[in-house]
Symmetry: C2
Subunit: 336 residues, 2 copies
């Protein structure tokens, strides 16, 4: 296990790379910790949770809603949790988003940590302190920004990760490469998902590289007033279609990236839209879809990144270099 | 209108004392503002809200719950609110608590301001950034600490304030006097509620004195790691009985202060418990009540101020000087 501590805003976050779940006991006092996980993970890795107070949620984005927050808070009260309690989210992005959010508001804020168990959570959702719940079809409409005390990586959990989840995770990895790291983009082009699933060392390296890439962006801009916005590449259209069409997050943002890359060709003179689409397809991800344009535009009108009559869209200038451009809704409507 | 700006944590909060609601237009852009208020206030002062986007809540502590938060967020989305929107809570403590909380989590945090319209909200609830909702019978179990951009005082709203609300507000004023300002304690002893309701200037002075007293405590300790805890005088027992017995907040904490003063006589040698009780009664507040001891102890066991087997209780050493003392639950059970 390698430990590195990062300052994010006023918080200090300890990352334990290439660690093991058993190390959790050295990171948090078991008597004052409650684990939050989901039924899938609990069924597959039940033994690991033995001896820990655990709250087990129904799995999936459908449960990333306020009703789950209320139910967990009631369970925490019944368990005698207090301001000294630490919550540990063990799971994918839904579990880490919920855990971070509940810890941010329970008794006006208690300490929390993460054991991300999916590629997506390892490279993205667990990092940066954004958390929250969906409201209706609107993603992450209620939330806070608050950093975990620690993030513990145990890649052994990936042994049971479904194929679709692998693809979803690589959608975020490809996003990181497209906006910030052309070297990694080429590395991804020269391999494929089968390669990374087989090669433990290369996978660990790739995960760490992505965790560090996102961490550096968040360190420079915790509150998303600048460069952190670039991480929304593919997410504007992606979020608008994700909950409407029951796509996985990875599929939705992959379609969003395909769209944003094509839009970049028109608006910034970006010339590699084909390479972006090809790489997404190489990792089993869709780059286009039929959707109801009017419905999607209606959701976009309510996007968090909206500002009056324009929406700030993340475009590519070249591979590894993203920019933000305000696009009027009327213009966007024509492209969609 | 006198404006004074206070630094609280990293935030800057503008207080507009002795102002007028019409000044709100100079504090926030009407096109990007949504007012949150309740039906009582809207019925009594409807004219004032003309031209403002408003969300009107059902009145009372029963609605300080998550379901209200969800309903307001859905309305905000429908109204096209975005990250540039400012929420303004116009009302008593329930409205300001809800408004501050919704603004803290909507789109991960937008700007907000308050127009407190009750004595309690003017001297207490609007100040210090604590906000949140109740979960079941547990008060403020979900919340955040986040400061408003401005607080606008317009004492004209007090013309329609019900008697019970006046008494509730003075319970917090007496609390401030007891823990921090023996001069104000004597001032309160030499007058009564009728006096302050008649004398506009004296009332304005008293409200400002209390707003400043609380602000200074919060400035020194925004996150309640030290002296801010003293503001919980009377609140530990008070909160435990408030939602169980449908007492007003003022009645509940008055009973709590009566209990804490009597407990102080035993534990700190405090000699003025009679004066505390007499002053509360002079302002029409109860100092004792019949309640189910077992039920109350059960709620205390889940108090936010609990730490393992003890609870940190605020006691008086003398008038104007409070201290915190950890009391084991077993000992507390005997006193109750």
């Amino acid at each position: 296990m390698q430990t590195q501590t990062f300052r994010i805003g006023t918080a200090s976050v300890a990352y334990h790379f290439d660690g093991s779940f058993t190390a959790l006991r050295s990171l948090t006092d078991r008597d004052h910790t409650v684990i939050i996980t989901d039924e899938n993970l609990f069924a597959l890795h039940g033994k690991r949770f033995k001896g820990w107070n655990s709250i087990v949620l129904k799995p999936g984005e459908d449960f990333k809603v306020q009703a789950t927050v209320d139910a967990v808070i009631e369970q925490l009260i019944d368990m005698g949790a207090d301001r000294q309690t630490t919550l540990v989210g063990v799971g994918g992005g839904v579990v880490t988003d919920l855990t971070g959010y509940i810890a941010s508001i329970f008794m006006r804020g208690i300490s929390f940590g993460f054991v991300p168990t999916t590629v997506l959570a390892l490279v993205d959702a667990s990092i940066g302190g954004k958390n929250g719940v969906d409201v209706g079809i609107y993603k992450n409409m209620a939330g806070t920004i608050r950093q975990p005390r620690f993030i513990l990586h145990d890649l052994a959990f990936l042994a049971t990760l479904p194929d679709a989840e692998w693809r979803s995770g690589f959608a975020e990895i490809i996003k990181h490469a497209a906006i910030r790291d052309s070297g990694m983009f080429r590395q991804l082009e020269s391999h494929d998902l089968t390669f990374f699933r087989k090669k433990k060392k290369e996978l660990a390296g790739l995960i760490k590289r992505n965790a560090l890439l996102k961490t550096r962006i968040v360190q420079a801009d915790e509150l998303e007033t600048g460069d952190r916005k670039l991480l929304n590449f593919g997410h504007t259209l992606g979020h608008a279609i994700e909950n409407q069409y029951e796509l996985s997050h990875g599929e939705a943002i992959s379609i969003g990236m395909g769209f944003a890359a094509a839009l970049s060709s028109v608006l910034t003179g970006f010339r590699q839209a084909d390479r972006v689409s090809a790489l997404l397809e190489k990792y089993g991800l869709p780059v286009a879809a039929d959707y109801d344009r009017a419905k999607v535009l209606d959701v976009l009108l309510k996007d968090k990144k909206k500002q009056q009559d324009t929406i700030r869209f993340v475009l590519l200038e070249r591979l590894g270099k993203a920019v933000i451009q305000p696009i009027p809704f009327t213009q966007l409507a024509n492209f969609i």
